[in-house]
Each structure stands twice: as structure tokens, then as C-alpha cells.
Amino acid sequence: MSALVIALLSFAVGAIGALVFANHGRWPTFFGVGGVLIGCLCGIIPAVGVVLGEPSQSLRMAWNIPYGSFSLGLDPLSGFFLIPVFLLCALAAIYGADYLEAYRGRKALAPPWFFFNLLVASMVIVLLARNGVLFLMAWEMMALSSFFLVTFEDEKESTRQAGWIYLIASHIGTAFLLVLFILLGRASGSLDFDRFAASSGAGLLFVLALVGFGTKAGFIPLHVWLPEAHPAAPSHVSAVMSGVMIKTGIYGLVRVMMLLGAPQAWWGWVLCGIGLTSGVIGVLLALAQHDLKRLLAYHSVENIGIIALGLGVGTLGLRAGLPAVAVIGFAGALLHVLNHALFKGLLFLAAGNVLHSAHTREIDHLGGLLRRMPRTGGIFLIGAAAITGLPPLNGFISEFLIYLASFKGALSLDAAGSVPMLATIAGLALIGGLAAACFTKAFGIVFLGQPRSEHAQQAHEVGLAMVLPGFVLAAACILIGLLGANVVSSMTPLISEVTGMSAAIVSTSLSTAANSVSFVSITGGALVGIASLLALGRAIALSNRSVSTNVTWDCGYAEPSRRMQYTASSFAQPLTDTFYLLLQTRRVLSAPRGFFPKDASLATETPDPYQEHIFQPLFRAIGRDLLLLRPLQQGKVQLYVLYIAVALLVLLLWQLA
């Protein structure tokens, strides 16, 4: 525990140091990056230790706040979520040091480093907090510090807009959490987690947690802030927010479900339903986007959906008394949390490189970047393959576990019980297919073919500090893919804590899964081996024959204009048309007219349907109604004094009555 406290102190020193030395050239960056790095190095050791089975630890200090106590605890669940936080934040800090240099002179660099350290520290406290007040304060600190990071480029109207949406969404979520913790603590009169008792209204509490934490995690339709905030933030912040910050929502949900005791069957149904809608609609919306970072943000919604599917299957297995289904389902969901942090962090950093060097996020303006940025392209490809869930990378391992749990559940449950299992199987299959479409589009249009604009033409590879973090993450993706069996079997303490089953039962179920996963890795290894042999064979065969290069044949259209290449929009069009009902893509077409048509254009746009049809009208109506209160604000001091006096009087009367 002391290492974690040192880590928190290090973040504090980094944050304050960055502010104090704000006007001293590179010092803010030095303090900001140094604080995060030292803190993460100190913190990751105990986090890994507790996940691997070292005893849990706790720390409690008195705190002068009603119902508050400064109590921290480190158990396998906290530890498991802390690992990606420390890993990704450290890498993002290294990356950010270079990334933010581009803004030197135009923007003050001290505030982003102050808030970055604050964000990391608040995430760590959220994961460690064992008291409701402390948890909510850290939760709020996390929201505020990330808000200031999102609005880093506040001279842009769209960034300010994104910041507001994020701030409002996250506070609405917090409101639900406030009610949740008050209800949880009401019975025992304390907000300490260990004194919460499972009360009668568990169903209501579950719904509150689902909405409150779901807003942070990005369950559809509560996801609307994600596609706004992630593209607006600097890329290393997007990586941290999308990779680990939204996972605190999943952590909170799992933690509260553990506090609530034995789950009810409908929780599992609801989680599976949310997972399916978030997964399918998330990936469809991603497919329809033209903005690279917005596309990645929608993919976070999709992956949160996959995690929810795993949690749902696990919950149903727990409820039905099927240890294998519960254990493998939860293991799949939690492993996907880690995996998503790795490949989504990687993808956002790579997208940051593209933005940094081509100065645009517009997919249709890019192209041919693999030749110009080979290293960035390579890591983006690994991230894309991993997020699509292709063997032999890490994304496949966690999806495989969720499939396996659902198949096992479908085999052992009766007709009604197997419906969510089969829906999960079909849903995951569809999500996988659509994700493949989406990432062939993202990688293919951005990195392959020929540049579609001057910007892309002049793109160049970025510095080492901006690709190295990506290399580390890519290596982690490959390692988890090849050593999946070891990873899965080492999750015993974690799953045992989450499901409340004995370690022996958990380890039996996990070892059957790990056995399958080891064969998956063997197949993956064989695949790599065979592919290398084939490549070698081809190289030998071609060594003494004529190998020439020429223009793309293109059925005889030699060297057409680069703008004649297929675009991302046209690539995705068959699917966006098929799913028009869910997407409502708009098209603005000015068709060519006359015998010598001059200009014709086609523009497509897919705004978020939930934002458009639910939240905008809702908030507009609220805003209109709130105008009625305006006469109260006259700007006269006397009037406000009167309000205060009246309020006091009313309170007094109420107290007397």
C-alpha cells in the first residue's frame, strides 16, 4: 500500500511542480511527465502483485468530512483495473511530451500537465476508494480534470461544445451515483464500502448503478459524450480517456454488483441487451464516420458493449449455478477490459501521429501513409487486427472466452435461458464482421493506396518518442495473444473475488478455458510459421524470375487521378444503406445536370441519432422551460438579500413545524 501512496504523492508533486514552474521553459513538461512516470512505476508493482495472488491490503485514515473516511483498499479487482491505468498513463505521458511540443509558444503547457497528473491520481483513487464520499470526490475530480484536458484547444468552437456535452453528461451520471450511495449507506448509517449491507431494493440500486456508471462507460444511449470528447482532446488524453477512464465505469458497475450480493436473472438479461445494442449500434456508427478519432471513439462504445455481453453471460451463469459459464464469462469481460485498454490506447496514439503529421483527421483526405509513416502504419495495423478480434492477437482471446461461455451456457440451459446466450453468439459474430469492415476501411483508406490530398502527400514519420509507446502496446497485444493461457489461468484470484466462488472451483473452470486458449495460441504460432514458410518459398521461387513493378492495372485505366480512388464513405456505403434504419445517414446530392455538367457533389453525414432525436430536443425543452425562471435574476443586490432572508425564514418555519 505504501508504494501506492508514494505513487499518489508523485502525481501530486508532478501536478504542483508543473504549475509552480509554469513559466520556466521545459520544466512543466519535465515535472508533468516525471510525476506520472515515477508514480506509475511505483504503483504497478503492488497492482500486479495483488492480481497474482498476494494478500489484499487496506489503509484507513481519519478524515474531517461527514460520513467520509480516507479508506483505501487494494484487492484483485482494483489491482486488475490499476494495471492498464499505470501502463497506459505512463506511455501516454511519454507520448504527450512530444505531442504537446507542437503547441509550444501558442498555448501554456503547464495546465495540461497539471490536469494530466490530477486525472491519473483521481483514477487511481477511484479504483482504490473504499468510502462513498471519497469515491465520489475522486470521481468528480476525474471528470473535471479530464474536462480541462478535453478543452485544451478551447479556441475552437467545436472543442468548447464537446467539453460542455462531456461536463453535462458526466454530471448527470454522477447524480445517479449520489442517489445510489445514499441509498446504499442508509441502512448502515455509514458510507464505507465494507459496511454496506445488501438491502431489499437491490434491483433499484442496480439500475442506478447501470445508469450512473453506464454514462461514464458509454452504454448506448448514454454514450453521446464519447464521440464528442474523444476527438476534441489531445491524442494522448484520448488514449487515456478511451483506454482506461471509461473503464472506471465498468469497475464501478462490477464493484456495486459485488456489494449487492447474489444477482438476479434479469440483470444478466439487461446487461446482454445493453451489450448487444451498444456493440452493434456502436460499430455501425463507427463505420459511418469520416473522422478517424470519432470512429475510434464509437469503437469504444462497441467494445464496452462486448464487455457488457461478457458480464451479462457471467451474471446469468452465476444465477443459474453454472460455474464454468460464470467464470469464463467474467474472465472474458475483464480480460477484454485490459485488452481494450492496450489496443485502443495504441490506436489513439497512432491516430495522433497521423493528425500530427498530416494535420487532418478526415479519413477521406488521407491515403498512402504506410509508405510515408511505416512505423505508425505498422502499429496501427496491429491495433486494427487486435480490435477486430483476429487471431493470434489479444482481442481474439477475450472474445473467444465470451463465445466459449455463451456456447457452454446455451448447451446447459433450457430454451428460455439460452436465448441471451445465443443472442450473444450471433451478436458477437455480427459485431466481429462489422468491426472487420470498419477497420479495413480505417486502415485501408488512411494508410494504403495513394494520398488523397496535399496534406497526406507531405506527411512524414514522427519522432521516436511518439512511436515507442505504440511499440510497447503492440508488443503487449501480441504477447497476450501468444501467452493467453498463462494470462487466463493467472486470473483465478480476481475471478474468485468477483464471482464469490472458491478458488478451487474457479481454477478448474479457468484451466479448461486456458487449455483451449493454449491451442488457440498454438494455432496462431503455426499460422505465423506457415506464413513465413510461404513467404520464404515465394521469395526463393521469384529470386531468378522477372519481377517488375508497374502502375495498378485497374482494368486499363492507367494512372487515373488520385481523387478517383474509392473513399471511406463509398467503402462503407453498402453497410450504411443496409442499416439505414439505425443510422439515418444524411445525403446531400447535387446531381450533374445538362450535357456539360460543371459541378456535382455528394456529401454524406451521420450525426449521432440519439443526440439528434433524444438529447437535443430534451435539453432544448429544458432550456426553454428554465427561461421562465429568468425574472428571478434581476441583478439587484437588494433582491438577492431578500431571497436569502426569505429562504432562511422558510427553513426556520420548516424546522419549527
Binding site: L390, L404, G444, L448, P560
Partner: protein
């Protein structure tokens, strides 16, 4: 694996006979492969290493997938619980790289094919998985080898409608994944019917041979599953079962040839409906096997 290219030969011969032609020799695919393997290669200036990786990864995944599949009386090399999921995802891996290789050329033709390929395969995926889930529930097994081995005449007596629906669902997936009429036309790449053939337009020489052989293996792979359901007799003698499975495979080839000869290619929009229908068929099969 050796027989895989023969299936295409049989399909082509069936089509030729149906059209009143003599047709190409049954072993034409082997000739083509051999010819391509001895040629040099031409690469486009636009392309990168992705273009060269495409055929290699595609063929390697197909080889791995075939190794996970039992055939006739012979079990898979490494049967394990959940191998059916791995096989489906190996197909996805091959597709991922083929599509990227197509996009690498910067050609609109190939990108159009790639776009259609990902569309239809995304929609075929649920049909495939629900079909496999129906088989898994029917045979209470999650590994392909015991799963396909335990489908017997008894299973057919018990649950003929469910198995029939599964075959129908997987049959559509078979036609779609292997670029056959009514989804795609394997004989042309120049009309707007193009999906698979157009994606590989720029590959040449040994690369193209690898692609052709991988396509043959893919057909063999999905055919094997269908044959294992449709030919439920087991003698226990691997040699006998193996030859009955090969006979079944040739039967599948003849049926495919007949389908191709008697149908026109569907309008692109109708293909989505066909694939959704396949998903529904698999779903119905699942509903029938519920207890």
C-alpha cells in the same frame, strides 16, 4: 487438401454440361496453379508490403483452418473445445488481409469489391455462427471433431427438420463465402457483379496461385461441414469414411454447379436479404433443437 482444387473442376464441368458444352478438363485448376507457380510477378507501384502479405496470410490461415477440421473418419490434427470459433475467425483473418491487399492497390475497382466483400461477410457471419451453434446444441459438443462425428442416421431420425435447416443456412454461407452465383460470379471480374474476383485483380504469378489455392481450400472447408451433416453414415473404417466424404464433397460440387447454372446472379441489394434469410434459417434450426 490435395483434392481441394478438384472440387472447382467438378463444378465447372457440371456447369459446362448444363450449358451443353464439353467444358474444361476436370483437373484444369491444377494446371492453372502449376502454370501460375512457374511465372514471375508484377507488382503495382502503389503497393506496399501489405499487398505481398495478403496472399501469404490468406493461404496460411486456410491451411490452419483445414488442419482444425476433421474429414470423414479422420479427426482434426488438434481438436479442442471451441475450435469452431477459431476456424470462423481464421476465415475472417484471411478476409481481412485480402481486403487490405485489394485496398493497397488504390484501385477503385478492387476497393469496390473489397467493400462488397466486407458487407456480405459481415452479414454471413451470424448465419455461420448460429448454424454452428445449432450443431453444437444438437450434438452437445463444442469441438468440431466429436461434433461432426456424432451426427448419425439416428440424429437425422430425431431431428431431420433442424439438420435440414442448418444445411440450408450453411449452404447459403457456402455460396456467399466462396463467391458463387447467386451472390457473386466467379467467372467474371469486369462487370458490376464483381466481388471476390475483382479484389485479386492485381495479383500475379505465385501470389495468384496462393490465392486460388486458398479459395479452393475455403470451399473444401465449408463443404466439409455440410458433407458431414448430409452424409451421416459411419462405418468406423477411416478409409471408407474418407472416400464417402470425398464422394459427398463431389456431390456438393455437382449441386453447386447446378445451382449456378439454373440461377442468375442476384441484385446486390437482394443479397443482403438472402444472407439475412440464411441467418433466419439457422435461427429456426436452433429453435427446433431447444429442449
Amino acid at each position: 487438401m490435395v483434392f481441394a482444387p478438384l472440387v472447382q473442376g467438378v463444378i465447372n464441368r457440371t456447369k459446362a454440361i448444363a450449358a451443353g458444352r464439353v467444358g474444361q478438363p476436370l483437373l484444369q485448376t491444377y494446371h492453372d496453379l502449376w502454370k501460375l507457380l512457374r511465372k514471375g510477378a508484377v507488382y503495382s507501384e502503389t503497393t506496399t508490403w501489405i499487398f505481398r502479405a495478403g496472399p501469404v496470410v490468406g493461404l496460411a490461415s486456410m491451411i490452419c483452418a483445414v488442419a482444425l477440421l476433421p474429414f470423414g473418419g479422420y479427426p482434426a490434427f488438434v481438436p479442442f473445445v471451441g475450435d469452431l470459433i477459431v476456424v470462423a475467425y481464421l476465415l475472417a483473418l484471411a478476409r481481412f488481409f485480402t481486403v487490405l491487399a485489394a485496398l493497397d492497390t488504390g484501385s477503385s475497382f478492387e476497393a469496390m469489391g473489397a467493400s462488397r466483400e466486407v458487407t456480405f461477410s459481415a452479414l454471413a457471419e451470424p448465419a455461420l455462427f448460429l448454424g454452428l451453434a445449432a450443431l453444437a446444441q444438437q450434438t452437445e459438443s463444442l469441438s468440431l471433431t466429436p461434433m461432426l462425428a456424432s451426427i448419425s442416421t439416428g440424429t437425422w431420425m430425431r431431428a431431420a427438420p433442424a439438420l435440414g435447416l442448418t444445411i440450408a443456412g450453411l449452404g447459403v454461407v457456402f455460396l456467399a463465402e466462396n463467391a458463387r452465383i447467386p451472390v457473386d460470379d466467379p467467372t467474371t471480374h469486369l462487370e458490376l457483379t464483381m466481388i471476390h474476383e475483382v479484389m485479386v485483380l492485381d495479383h500475379s504469378g505465385p501470389d495468384f496461385a496462393m490465392i486460388q489455392y486458398a479459395a479452393a481450400l475455403k470451399m473444401w472447408l465449408l463443404g466439409t461441414v455440410i458433407v458431414a451433416i448430409a452424409v451421416p453414415w459411419h462405418s468406423g473404417n477411416p478409409l471408407l469414411d474418407g472416400s464417402s466424404a470425398i464422394a459427398g464433397m463431389l456431390g456438393v460440387a455437382v449441386v453447386t454447379g447446378i445451382i449456378e447454372s439454373s440461377l442468375a446472379r442476384l441484385q446486390l441489394l437482394r443479397i443482403t436479404q438472402l444472407l439475412i434469410a440464411a441467418t433466419v434459417l439457422s435461427g429456426l434450426a436452433l429453435a427446433l433443437v431447444q429442449r
